[in-house]
Amino acid sequence: MSKTAIAYIFSAATLLVAVWLGVSIGSVKIPIQTLWNATADPTAANILWKIRMPRVVLAGLVGASLAISGAAFQGLLKNPLADPYTLGVSSGASVGAVMTLFFGISITFFGHFTLPVFSMIGAALTMFVVLGFARLVDRAMKMETIILTGIIFSSFLGSLLSLMIALTGEELRQIIGWLLGSVSMRGWSYVTMILPFVGIGSVLLWINRRELNAMLFGEERAHHLGVNVKRRKWMILIGGSLLTGSAVAVSGTIGFVGLVVPHMTRLMWGADHRHLLTLSFFNGASLLIICDLVARTIISPSELPVGVITAFIGAPVFAFIFYRQRRKGAM
């Protein structure tokens, strides 16, 4: 069996196991037959399908979105430190979301899509402003320029967030809770809300998988290999913004997944974007489902913000894989 096939089977199996653990473990243990036999234990079936499953699916979608967009941004910017958070897109999304909560904006046309829509508009605006400014500073758009610009805008938007929190009254808990990042008590409506954006964003990135491979060698090289660099770059940036915006919109800022999952995937299965994107998608989903499981069970009945757990679990695992890989390279 080829290495690629093993990679896909392994990642998919991990995801299935993660999903199962995510839905079965908790204050009430869910037996596996509940999946296909709802009548045997209606309470368990209720918990499974109404509470646990939407939460797990949402966690999976958020993790997958962050991981795939992180992988794409790292490839596009040729920088191992890039992720949606570094570039300021998450901050933009947060400002968009917090603004809707702060001003109590509710647009009937969007219905319950108001917050994610604003969040995504915030993400997209930030992305365009960051890139526009970077282009203004340095026409070659070197990665240092883009990243520094991202940091400038992140800190600016961060202070804007702090300002809104300082001025807020009633909605403070809501905003803080949202910012810390969580996928609890969202229900299926949130899943259906972000599903189209995750779908479109992921497809936009996936159809540029070969272009991303070429762009790893630099924009000029990609141009010579026949890539329409300008168009492809915008497609990837818009796809990444859609994914980041929708992920932040439903779960707040969970920063670690977008940075580390692509690296772990790359270390295990190689840097070829034709597989890296899909595998990161699976692994991001698995990681966030597991992290969410830990977040809600570790100090049960209370819950921790899932963002705390992602770094808590992700960092040591990443350190271990990184160490093993580099040692192997050195020997």
Binding site: F217, E220, H223, H224, G226, N228, D272, G329
Partner: protein
């Protein structure tokens, strides 16, 4: 194949490339040369579409390139980049596979047999098969560059553009890379346009050269039309000399370093000669430019030690050159800095002479063994048996000789020797006619290359007169000394 017409453009508003027109034929290798900032890389980038043009047209196979889509263009033109680094590592196979990008289309386009063949062929050509699954970051600079050559070849475009492809490569990798590309041009009709920093490499590997100066074409033509002292010297503002390649009809240039150290006047005198039982020796303070037909280090070169070795009349070894080299080393002479001749004449029978004129002086040393004298006019009727006997002539000039002066000096010296044999009535023992030399005569002309410039050395030039007179006189004396020694021994 590719035509550039009145091309102007480059960065921002001030055009770097101005009104450049040229044409490249299928299978041709064109080298673009020019000093830093002359616009050679800009020109290449404009052809490859990285930089915008302001006016002019570029056509490939009679179609304007602006009508090509990015992918169509990449199917026509492949570009080999300068060396660079990147953040994430692909395997060698993945990297080369990217060359197939312009041949793939559609969302789910799969890897075809054609793609596989092109990649395998490119990897075989560049000899990187054994690195197939290695990460490129683990390869050396030279190997990595080969991977990118393979990537460009896998693109299978009829035109290949290169921007200083051999930058940072050692000479073995430079040669491998350029040989591979040259071979593709010959075998597959690949058209190559390459920017070169190294004029000599460009001259060696290109059919035509384009020399840029201030964004314009200073000269375009065959290497021998472009790599000229005057042309290269003016455009690059450097002091250079050209010389022929030792094996190929391609001119090569070399720099003339400007040495600021005061040149101490240096001349060779008779006191620099030494005669021992075994050899006549000349050692000079500085190397002399030498042309000779010696046994050890013949041809042209710069040498400080000159040995005329006495060997026994029965000296006979399979490889005289090898034995001579060993002998010189045994005697403590530096093998790469020494010119060595052989003679059966005793070293003590050497005849010296010093001759002076307004321009300077020349020194002459002759050993004349005439037992093997030959009349060259009757040579055809002779057997091929070699006999012992050699006239070895050294002419040392305190002066600066041109290339032609060296050759004229050899002619003049030879004529003088022949005249000496005539007046001394040396006969060819077989034909009984007057001999013109022996069958194994050697001649050495060496000059300090300092002092007066001596462009010619024909028999009526100041230098030629001295050589003619001196060689004649010394040869006569040497023949007499030889004969006297013979008589004494009989």
């Amino acid at each position: 194949m590719l035509t550039v017409k009145n091309l102007t453009g480059g960065y921002s508003n001030t055009p770097v490339v101005k009104d450049v027109s040229f044409q490249v034929e299928k299978g041709e290798v064109l080298g673009i040369l020019g000093p830093n900032g002359s616009g050679k890389s800009t020109l290449l980038k404009m052809i490859s579409g990285i930089l915008p043009k302001q006016t002019g047209t570029i056509t490939i196979e009679a179609q304007d390139v602006s009508t090509y889509s990015q992918k169509e263009f990449a199917r026509k033109v492949a570009v080999l980049p300068q060396m660079h680094t990147h953040a994430f590592s692909h395997s060698v196979f993945e990297t080369v596979s990217l060359g197939r990008y312009p041949h793939q289309s559609g969302l789910f386009s799969t890897w075809s047999k054609e793609d596989e063949r092109a990649v395998m062929e490119a990897m075989t050509l560049t000899d990187i098969m054994r690195y197939k699954d290695t990460a490129i970051e683990l390869l050396s600079g030279g190997e990595r560059q080969r991977v990118f050559v393979a990537q460009a070849l896998a693109q299978e475009a009829p035109i290949l553009l290169l921007d200083e492809p051999t930058n940072h490569l050692d000479i073995a990798h430079q040669q491998q890379l350029l040989d591979t590309i040259r071979e593709q041009a010959i075998q597959k009709g690949l058209t190559v346009i390459s920017v070169f920093h190294d004029i000599n490499l460009a001259s060696l590997y290109c059919d035509r050269l384009l020399l840029m100066e201030n964004g314009q074409i200073a000269k375009i033509g065959a290497p021998h039309d472009v790599v000229k002292e005057s042309m290269v010297g003016t455009v690059y503002d450097a002091k250079v000399k050209t010389q022929p390649h030792p094996e190929l009809p391609k001119p090569q240039i070399t720099l003339l370093p400007h040495v600021d150290v005061k040149k101490l006047p240096f001349t060779v005198d008779l006191t620099d000669f030494n005669v021992t039982a075994n050899y006549v020796l000349l050692q000079t303070n500085k190397p002399l430019k030498t042309v000779s037909s010696a046994v050890h280090n013949p041809g042209t070169g710069w040498y400080q030690t000159f040995v005329n070795r006495h060997v026994d009349a029965n000296y006979h070894v399979a490889d005289a050159k090898e034995e001579m080299a060993r002998y010189l080393e045994q005697e403590g002479f530096h093998p790469t800095d020494t010119v060595g001749m052989m003679t059966a004449v005793q070293a003590e029978h050497v005849e010296f002479g010093k001759y002076e004129e307004d321009f300077g002086s020349i020194l002459i040393a002759v050993t004349a063994g005439i037992g093997n004298a030959v009349d060259v006019a009757e040579a055809l009727s002779r057997d091929r048996k070699e006999r012992i006997g050699t006239i070895n002539t050294w002419v040392i000039v305190n002066g600066k000789l041109s290339e032609e002066a060296f050759i004229q000096a050899m002619i003049t010296a030879t004529e003088a020797k022949t005249k000496a044999l005539q007046t001394e009535e040396v006969l060819d023992p077989l034909t009984k006619t007057v001999a013109t030399g022996t069958s194994t005569d050697s001649l050495l002309i060496a000059a300090t290359q300092q002092g007066e410039c001596l462009p010619y050395a024909g028999p009526i030039t100041p230098l030629g007169k001295l050589i003619g007179h001196g060689v004649y006189e010394c040869t006569v004396r040497a023949i007499r000394a030889y004969r006297k020694a013979k008589e004494g021994s009989v």
